[in-house]
Symmetry: C2
Subunit: 241 residues, 2 copies
């Protein structure tokens, strides 16, 4: 069973988000566990302080090093946990990183709040720094939820028959083709003819063409980053003409 | 008061994440509201179906167009809500986009699940498509939380005195400098001398230099994207030599 630990001053934030949907079934089936840990339990002083003023001045508190280092070492010792600091400085999270994280049996996310964590935490216990994007959050908690969601769904058995993680955006290097469900006609807009033709090869060709067009239009940068197969490459060339 | 509506089949996911921390105070003080809306309430059939099989075949269900279109139109009519579809196809969310979203009094996030939403939803009611990054989630709910967090903290009064949103990563085009708090010495590692010198100009210079070095090392791409001021630019040049 894979374990996702979260070191946070707000463990109860994690209560409702994982009680529903396909991930909650993975938890019920013991495929993985979401384990928020209260940093205050690792604070050493009687007031259980986890933050303090910043050296050098400036608005905003900084997370104290002792509770975080103590908790991270405990988890490293106990379950050889991979220690991740969530921070704008880190490497940008993407699908490839989600697949990489899948190899660890235990991952611990350190969630900073306020101005962030004391620099010495990085030096002493952090294995890797990850950022989920170029924006600022009030804390690492939502970033941890996003990464847990992206990684947990890749654990074999979690998605079950619902969907295959193989054929989807970013894995193939292309964005997904448009999807349609009933009704066949909605406000005068019909499902494209080919999708009701029953002709599988034509459907696949249509979907590939749409994927390529959407990717060219919205995210041409994805094409440059990906190792596309030769069939896809020749289609891109012909569509670009 | 700014309103964040979320169209979802799992409204209770949003319960605990906004009950804590600085955002919960903003909600208490009526600076903004997080309003999850159950898509089933807008379903028209007696089974309150919100998803169905995919035309053209393939594993995975697709979110039906009727409930989403009906709910989005209701919110557009009621409060001129800005309708955002959360989808990997969308424009990548960043700090600039967070600032742009701040101008809308009401924002509605459509959270797809399974294979995504019926294509006609995009054509009929969506004002903007946003992706929070190049990774796949089980649904749009965590993406909505992230965006709400990033936008809500920019609402005047939400952060209070805790921190100023001005001096931080991505806004200035640089990553943040290291932060230190007590104890002065921790496991043999001392706070850098300059931060306890009381010399404000030297502290500012040290912080700028650290910011530049960290950005050069971790995210040189940020420098290219940003309009940096001339003082910063000349420091970068001298540090690069």
């Amino acid at each position: 069973m894979k374990i996702f630990n979260i070191l946070t001053i707000f463990p109860s934030m994690f209560k409702s988000p994982f009680e529903l949907g396909v991930l909650s079934k993975g938890i019920e089936n013991s495929l993985f566990k979401v384990n928020p840990i209260n940093l205050r339990d690792f604070a050493e002083d009687k007031h259980q302080m986890t933050d303090d003023y910043q050296y050098g001045g400036g608005a905003g508190l900084v997370m104290k090093p002792e509770p975080i280092v103590k908790a991270a070492r405990y988890l490293k010792e106990k379950e050889n946990s991979h220690i991740v600091l969530l921070d704008p400085r880190g490497k940008t999270f993407n699908q490839k990183k989600a697949e990489e994280l899948l190899k660890h049996d235990s991952i611990t996310f350190i969630c900073g709040r306020y101005e962030g964590v004391d620099e010495r935490v990085r030096e002493l216990v952090v294995d890797e720094e990850i950022s989920i994007g170029d924006f600022i959050l009030t804390g690492g908690e939502f970033a941890a939820m996003v990464i847990i969601d992206a990684v947990a769904r890749l654990i074999p058995g979690v998605l079950g028959d619902e969907s295959s993680p193989v054929e989807e955006s970013f894995t193939s290097g292309l964005l997904e083709y448009p999807h349609y469900t009933r009704p066949y006609e909605f406000e005068g807009k019909k499902v494209p003819e080919v999708l009701v033709s029953g002709h599988h090869q034509k459907i696949n060709e249509w979907r590939l063409e749409k994927s390529i067009k959407i990717t060219l239009q919205n995210r041409v940068d994805l094409l440059k980053k990906s190792a596309l197969d030769s069939n896809v490459l020749s289609r891109i060339k012909s569509l670009r003409r």
